[in-house]
């Protein structure tokens, strides 16, 4: 049994631009609560999420990377003990062209029922995705997620 959520948003952009927005620090800093992702986006590579001051919030490993279609990340929180002790989660990002938009599907799963980690990230993702969509469609992210 597992806890899981599936979030979907349609963004007027190209899969390549969306891929860059999801993987490059100059973009993530703008719409993802100011975080930087440190990773070379190859299967087996380490993955790290941190604030500008170097604090690591989450870390893990790239399970799959198929540019510009799919990223699977083995993901664990690092700074809250009760989330860290729940262990590894799996986050899949799928990018799929639909007419003149790209459908972005985020699926985040953990092998646990009543997961505090899933509860925590499920609250953050809608704001991140709305801001990402606004940034790609208008050129500026939503101010509340900078």
């Amino acid at each position: 049994m597992s806890d899981k959520f599936v979030y979907v948003t349609y963004i007027k952009t190209t899969p390549e631009k969306l891929w860059d927005a999801l993987t490059k620090p100059e973009f993530t800093k703008q719409y993802w609560f100011g975080v930087t992702l440190e990773c070379d986006w190859k299967a087996g590579s380490p993955w790290k999420m941190m604030y500008d001051d170097g604090r690591v919030t989450d870390q893990g490993e790239i399970v799959e990377a198929d540019k510009p279609k799919r990223i699977v990340i083995k993901w664990r929180n690092e700074f809250m003990p009760e989330l860290k002790e729940e262990g590894w989660s799996r986050c899949e990002m799928a990018l799929e062209p639909v007419n003149d938009t790209v459908k972005l599907t985020i699926t985040h799963t953990i092998d646990k029922i009543g997961s505090k980690f899933i509860q925590a990230v499920s609250g953050g993702w809608p704001r991140i995705l709305s801001s990402l969509k606004t940034m790609l469609e208008t050129g500026a992210p939503l101010p509340s997620t900078k």
């Binding site: 979030y7 979907v8 699926t107």
Partner: protein, 104 residues
């Protein structure tokens, strides 16, 4: 955005969303349990919710699971509520700046 408002403008559909909010990833059968609505009516309502993007479905083995997707609803919140939050955040950072200046 019209589709989201239409989808939310019905008590039965909001009730289905509440059920998914309470427990995510349910089959049609689970969602029908304890409801006075027919299975057919639930299917129709879920279709409208899915069309508006506030519910997404995923196949898992032989089952089709329904998930609540809050992203379109969040966009509505950001459009009308976000700017009030911005003012609050700006006020807080002004206050912080002022207090820090007084420290010096």
């Amino acid at each position: 955005m019209d589709a989201v408002f239409k989808a939310l403008a019905d008590e039965s559909r909001r009730h289905l969303l509440d059920r998914l909010h309470h427990k995510n990833a349910q089959t049609l059968g689970e969602l029908c349990e304890g409801l006075s609505m027919s299975r057919q009516a639930v299917t129709k309502h879920l279709g409208i919710l899915e069309g508006a993007g506030v519910v997404v479905t995923k196949r898992q083995g032989r089952e089709k699971l329904h998930f609540i997707n809050p992203v379109p609803i969040n966009e509505i919140a950001e459009r009308w509520i976000g700017k009030f939050e911005r003012a609050r955040l700006a006020a807080l950072s002004d206050l912080k700046r002022k207090l820090e200046r007084e420290d010096k």
